[in-house]
Amino acid sequence: MNLTFQDLGNTRLIVAGEPRIDAAVAIQFKDRMREIMDAGPERFILDMSAVDFLDSSGLGAVVAAMKQVGAGKTFELAELTPAVKKVFALTRMDTVFRIHPNAQAALETEPTHAP
């Protein structure tokens, strides 16, 4: 599972290097995200620019990551490719996640805390 991260100030920028997050790898994705988000700063951004395909299992794993975020911390997304954006729109998950055009734009804005 190609998931890497770097810490920039109060932000942990996680980069998904996997072209497909689907049923075949959703569990590995979820487990690796849990490790990465277990500790760390107060803000997490998942850069999805390299992900060309996301199915419902992959989406479930991204939702699981968001639900893992503790009080006072945020989980945001950056750069959804067109096919991935469509999955978020069709399931209305685009209204649930804060989605930035790209990682740079995400880093330049203030985090919003979950309701």
Binding site: F53, T91, V96, A114
Partner: protein, 151 residues
């Protein structure tokens, strides 16, 4: 099921997640030759991923193994899909999206599953399911020429 018409593409694959990946690759190759409008082949890939993975996870599950047969028929402005498997029957309420999402839900209450049928029902037409003997038969259409029949 459409008898008497030969499918434009017919695939038989083992019912597991990696085989589904390979099958989707073959279907994508087939779709490239059809030169579909922007975004259509992505929608087809997504629907097939959902349908095929539902079979591997629920009809066959961890204890059974079997094959999946996928037939794609090219119609005038749409593709007709027939998907067959010999696994467990679908629960009666399955082909309905059963999660209602409110936009401002607290993240902790969000569902992590159930998105699959939601995607399938939004991207297909004429979804039907039948149990014929020991087989599950799922059929649906996906519009490919949006100028003729907007979806």
């Amino acid at each position: 099921m459409r008898s008497g018409t030969l499918p434009s593409l017919q695939l038989t694959l083992p019912g597991d997640a990696m085989s589904v990946r390979f099958a989707l690759k073959s279907v994508m190759g087939f779709l490239r030759d059809l030169t579909l409008p922007e975004g259509r082949s992505g929608a087809i890939e997504l629907v097939l991923a959902e349908v095929l993975n539902n079979i591997t996870e629920h009809a066959y599950g961890e204890t059974m193994c079997g094959v999946i047969e996928l037939r794609i028929f090219r119609m005038q402005n749409r593709l007709h899909f027939v998907v067959l498997d010999d696994g467990l029957p679908m629960p009666e309420d399955a082909p309905n999206p059963n999660i209602q999402l409110e936009p401002a839900r607290a993240p902790s209450t969000l569902p992590e599953g159930g998105f699959g049928w939601m995607l399938i029902s939004e991207l297909t037409n004429g979804l039907s399911y039948a149990r014929t003997g020991n087989r599950n038969v799922l059929e649906f259409d996906i519009t490919i020429d949006q100028t003729v029949q907007p979806h």
